[in-house]
Amino acid sequence: MSDRGSMIQHERIDGDHSEAIIATLRDARERKSPVYISAGGSKQHMIGRHCDAAELDVSAHRGIVDYQPGELVITARAGTPLTELVATLSEHNQMLSFEPPLFAGRATLGGTLACNLSGPARPWSGSIRDLVLGVQLINGKCERLNFGGKVMKNVAGYDVSRLQAGALGTLGVLSEVSLKVLPRPQEMITLRYAMTADEAIVTMNRRAGEPKPLSGAFWLDGQLHLRLSGAASAVDSTVRQWGGERVDDGEQLWEALRAMTLPFFAGDAPLWRFSVQSSARHAPEFGPTLIDWGGAQRWVRGEQQREQLDRIAAAAGGHAMLFRGGERSGEVRAPLNAVERNLQLRLKHAFDPDGILNPGRLYRWL
């Protein structure tokens, strides 16, 4: 499964394997031998840089620990596949409202939080970063720590839980995660409109400024798709007001967008992601573009000039990254200035003083 040097195996029995993880980390720390944290392996070749370290497979550390539908909170071990969470929540008509990609069942809770991955609903329902309520993590000093909790509001101490979103496991091995979950919407309808990218960006933003149950907005190949979800009465009345062509297989379309299985995402050509202000102008110079998140997330393919991407992204109030493929030994994220780098390094050191957790996964120097 891995080409990453020696593999650290755990017994494949579902349950609490945190003691074994701590023991492995202690050993790694003593030997000053860093680890690369993995579970489902779905994101091994995307989002982060290549990390040359012995694999720490935490996939056996899985299972739902606590789920109280009335509290809108689920707690599970980090190695739990998202599909298991989705199935359990469905039984109670609830869902992961941030619509993470499930990557054919391989995506896990911990990996999804570490990568801060959210789907088409993100601008309206929030990201996993917004919905995480608490974490248990094992830091680089091999200490098992609990932050946040299982309640909706908690401002005691620093928000270490949200800090894990997008940290790619460089601050700790996630052990357990508590998330806010939400009821499934009663109805979902997709509308389609033929228009250019420039027109779509303005339309997406205008529609998002109306008090209607919009829950998705993406543009590809001259077609804008808007998704409405919520109370049936609200969805139906908005459909009447907004018009447009009703898409019959809308659910499959959004699922393919979420899972990144649309033809746009196929093939090995480098996949670049822009995270920018939703109203930023379309940049045609990068070739075919998929515009999602109501304009705030844009995808382009192929070989690109890194400096040009960074410049355009910065001008649009955001940043660009090499999401998948391409050269992953160099930096894949936007450069940081000296003050930012210094603080990021100091923060890394505060959690992982010996640098044993996913070294170089986020940035070469981190």
């Binding site: 909706m152 109370a231 100091r346």
Partner: protein, 477 residues
């Protein structure tokens, strides 16, 4: 030291922006938690970000503590001055710099009041969602420092969910932009870490907030119940029905009666508890959900149900809730507001325990509760001129916080730790966790000059800390 400090401050600030006289400093001696007071070496009121930066650089150079303050509406003594430091008041940075109606954002200075953002955005059909009860006065910088909530958190989230980006200055006066105008940022999410950090990691100089479209309509259902447990069950039933109300509030008998005496909102005075359940959205959706909630409450034994008839009636029904603190405040010389958060399912047990503690300490308590998100606000009534009552009120409050943690909740849902809950942090966190907080603090503020003695306990666990000045221990007066 203080002579040198003042000399340096006078070089970069106008004379009227530095307050040195103790009598003139009095308005700044505490925040809205008046139990804890102190006076600083100087109160400074910079008029520009550049001046804030100069002040920070001076304090960094001279190793002087800096406590930031916005409007002073905080409830945990987070903005209480430090006797050896300066109080950095950001209220003069009060401009709304830009509103972008298409991208739905507002770029504002830290001293801008929460409500004024919504007022300025209103002409575009937009508003800023977090609405703490102090929203007329409280500033956005303070909201970021405390990760403030309000009555609409369950549906619309806290401050951390409603900001996109901010400019901050580090303890050394270095400029930093956190977040982005996109929905994430490339390295560690420092904006998440800064939000709710109580001025311990840096000073916010500008915030870009998200604006939401103003809902077409909002309607509130008020229901009376003859027991706390019936009201608690009704809260669970709304959530189980798949409805996320815009606000879901509970008040108990003493709070109901105080509010009714205060503003005649039409609350049922004989009820053991009332729920205020607000739905917002499109007209059709609100009508559908109001019907569903009325039916649920009726099935669960509500003794009275009132649905707001129009905007004026809705405002009146909320007026009782929003003025609950001053209303309860009329029942005794002083009140002490707690802020624990609990799992919703524990509300009956926790409120009954609070009543038991009320008898034990012989101090009355009124309960106002963000039931939707489990955030309790017990108001303990006491007389601050009686030292015994002060001690009893503090012990009572401490017991409520311990209780909240014991049932799986936390010390503070939205008011923050400040000075007030510092000693209680060890009931929610183990030493290793507190040490991790301390390491984070060190990463941003190695000199420990930003808001010392607040938020996180400094454990002095190794040699380098032993030399720390006494500034990390506060002695409330």
């Amino acid at each position: 030291m203080s002579t040198q400090l003042l000399h340096r401050l006078r070089q970069c600030l106008a004379a009227e922006c530095i307050i040195e006289e103790p009598e003139s400093q009095r308005p700044y001696e505490c925040d809205a938690l008046t139990l804890y007071r102190d006076l600083p070496l100087a109160v400074v009121l910079p008029q520009s970000v550049a001046q804030v930066q100069q002040v920070l650089k001076i304090c960094h150079e001279l190793n002087v503590p800096v406590v930031a303050r916005g409007a002073g509406t905080g409830l945990c003594a987070g903005a209480m001055p430090h006797a050896d430091g300066i109080l950095l008041v950001l209220s003069k940075l009060d401009r709304i710099l830009d509103i972008d109606p298409l991208a739905r954002t507002a770029r504002v200075q830290p001293g801008v009041s929460n409500l004024s953002i919504s007022e300025a955005a209103a002409r575009h059909g937009l508003y800023y969602a977090p609405d703490p009860s102090s929203q007329v006065a409280c500033s956005i910088g303070g909201n970021v420092a405390e990760n403030s909530g309000g009555v609409h958190c369950l549906k619309y989230g806290l401050t951390v969910h409603n900001i996109l980006s901010m400019n901050v200055l580090t303890a050394a006066g270095e400029e930093l932009t956190l977040g982005s105008l996109g929905l994430d940022s490339p390295g560690y999410d420092l904006m998440a870490l800064f939000t709710g950090s109580e001025g311990l990691l840096g000073i916010v100089t500008e915030v870009t907030v998200r604006l939401l479209p103003t809902p077409e309509i909002a309607q509130v259902v008020m229901a009376g119940f003859d027991s706390i447990s019936a009201a608690g069950d009704a809260v669970g039933a709304v959530i189980a029905a798949g409805i996320i109300p815009a606000g879901l509030e509970m008040m108990d008998r003493l709070a109901i009666q105080a509010a009714e005496d205060f503003c005649q909102a039409g609350y049922p005075r004989d009820a053991a508890a009332i729920l205020l359940c607000e739905m917002d959205g499109t007209r059709e959706e609100v009508a559908q959900h109001v019907d569903a909630v009325v039916q649920l409450f009726a099935q669960l034994g509500a003794t009275s149900i009132t649905v707001s008839r129009d905007e004026r009636h809705r405002a009146l029904l909320w007026k009782g809730r929003k003025s609950a603190f001053p209303a309860v405040g009329r029942l005794a010389p002083d009140y002490y507001c707690m802020d624990g958060t609990i799992p919703r399912g524990q509300v009956t047990y926790v409120l009954n325990e609070i009543y038991r503690l009320s008898e034990h300490y012989t101090l009355p308590v009124a309960n106002v509760f963000h039931a939707g998100d489990g955030n309790l606000h017990p108001l303990i009534l006491f007389d601050a001129s009686d030292p015994l009552q002060v001690r009893k009120a503090e012990a009572f409050g401490g017991d409520i916080l311990d209780l909240s943690v014991r049932v799986g909740g936390c010390l503070t849902g939205e008011h923050g730790v400040g000075v007030e809950k510092l000693r209680k942090m060890s009931s929610q966190f183990r030493p290793e966790e507190l040490a991790q907080f301390e390491d984070i603090k060190h990463a941003f503020d190695p000199g420990l000059n930003l808001n010392p003695g607040k938020g996180i306990p400094i454990l002095k666990r190794c040699q380098e800390y032993r030399a720390l000045p006494a500034r990390h221990q506060h002695h409330p007066t």
